[in-house]
Amino acid sequence: MHDDHVILCRCEDVTLGDVRRMLAAGYVTVEDLKRQLRIGMGPCQGTTCGLLLQREVASFLKKSPEDVPIAKARPFVVGVTLKAIAEAADEE
């Protein structure tokens, strides 16, 4: 399989090719790539692709991965139905 077709973000179907095109176009931070490609915005919230993306950006910038900031961590850790939240709030 061609590298470009490798899926990095399985929630939003973002491929390595998509990421490399955006990097070449000048979007070289994880936050920019997230907003332009939706990478890491799906149900798993970047749990799977986050580190892969960080590594890809690092290799493009010729930096060490730990020098590439990842996307801001936000709630939720796992998806929760709104109904469950509403019911729990009512019980308090």
Binding site: Q36, R74, G79, V80, K83, I85
Partner: protein
């Protein structure tokens, strides 16, 4: 570095102003942002666009802006999809006072050419069948209101501006705006000095602080507004559903996710953008009451952004007699994204001394000098 003008803020307003100045022939335009493209309020907004307002200035800004969105990709030669959908806003009247006020709003909107209408409960349920029929009395509906992707729309302005020679400086914080003998001399960031005589304050939640750097007082404050998004599902809701009195907006975006928000009462002024459980509880309860089916979806991400609140909840645009060469594009009170096409046009026209496309008297900062101002936008969540 020298420039004709420095625009502070690379959100939708800053990028739209830069493009509109460049397309009218201005050279050496520099846009500075402390973060990345759309890092502030633009990238955090609900991205609904509506024309159903209560003041004339907001109605006309919104109407002209929607006309732009309809052809934005072609106008800006943007290859990607801006994901514009026009399936309307359904605004619920939940109190007798709202029923009465909304009739007046629709009359004003219609007089300005906005195709909104009052709809009965039965008609509203045809438009959004999963609405709880017991939660509202009647509604207003405008079919040409809608939604678009804020990242892509901003990127479209950004790319069009760059092709016309606009310089963007990301990750640079404006630390000083030097004024000597009543004139702007330079903007100093944490990385460089830019000689300029003109500055545009399009700094969103930080507009007040950027004004203070130049000694300009702007009567605005930042207020946190929270929002969340669900997992994407197949299409089940066309329009945005909104209630002012019950404090709710909820829309399914073309991608399939539902985006929803509400105002947390008594939110302190400031730049806190953390996520609260208080919002989450109230949001979940409100949406389960109005749209019970949406309550079955998993919420997957919660975040917050700043509203830059003005005294009358209308934008503050244009020059100020406090400082020559300093221009304002702030105070949008949560609606900067949907007004941005006209913000860009009007600012460019005022900066270049051209006749303005719309009357701007109601939008200049000078309006707050008059004690008689009675116009106040109440159609806000």
């Amino acid at each position: 570095m020298k420039s004709e003008i420095v625009i502070v803020g690379a959100g939708i307003s800053g990028t739209a102003i830069a493009y509109n100045l460049a397309i009218r022939g201005m050279k050496d335009i520099v846009v500075v942002d402390q973060g990345y493209l759309t890092a502030g309020s633009t990238g955090r907004c609900g991205a609904g666009v509506r024309q159903q307002w209560q003041t004339m200035a907001n109605c006309t800004m919104a109407k002209k802006s929607i006309e732009f969105f309809e052809h934005a990709a072609e106008t800006l030669h943007y290859d990607e999809d801006i994901e514009f959908k026009q399936e309307g806003y359904l605004i619920l009247a939940c109190t007798a006072a709202e029923v009465e006020q909304f009739q007046k709003n629709v009359a004003l909107q219609n007089s300005l050419g906005i195709p909104s209408k009052v709809v009965s409960k039965e008609e509203a349920l045809k438009i959004v069948p999963h609405l709880n029929p017991d939660a509202f009395i009647s509604a207003t509906y405008c079919r040409t209101d809608g939604h678009l992707n804020p990242f892509k729309m901003t990127d479209a302005y950004y790319q069009a501006g760059k092709k016309l020679g606009v310089t963007y400086l990301f990750g640079e914080r404006v630390e000083r705006i030097d004024v000597e003998q009543g004139r702007i001399q330079r903007v100093v960031t944490d990385k460089r000095t830019i000689e300029t005589a003109r500055v545009v304050d399009a700094a969103g939640g930080y507009a007040k602080e950027v004004g203070e750097l130049a000694g300009v007082r702007i009567p605005v404050y930042a207020e946190r507004h929270e929002i969340l998004v669900t997992e994407p599902i197949e299409k089940m809701q066309g329009p945005m559903v909104m209630s002012f009195s019950q404090n709710l907006y909820c829309q399914q975006v073309p991608h399939g996710a539902f985006i929803m928000g509400r105002t947390t009462p008594n939110e302190p002024h400031g730049h806190d953008l953390s996520s609260s459980w208080q919002f989450l509880d109230a949001m979940a309860k409100t949406v389960c009451k109005f749209l019970p089916k949406v309550g079955e979806l998993h919420a997957i991400r919660q975040w917050a952004g700043s509203y830059c609140m003005s005294p009358d909840r209308q934008p503050i645009l244009g020059p100020t007699d406090q400082l020559e060469g300093f221009y304002l594009a702030c105070g949008f009170s949560g609606h900067g994204f949907m007004f941005a096409p006209m913000t860009g046009v009007l600012l460019a026209e005022m900066i270049l001394g051209l006749p303005t496309t719309l009357p701007v008297e109601d939008l200049l900062i000078d309006r707050f000098k008059k004690q008689t101002t009675t116009v106040y936008e109440k159609s806000v969540v």
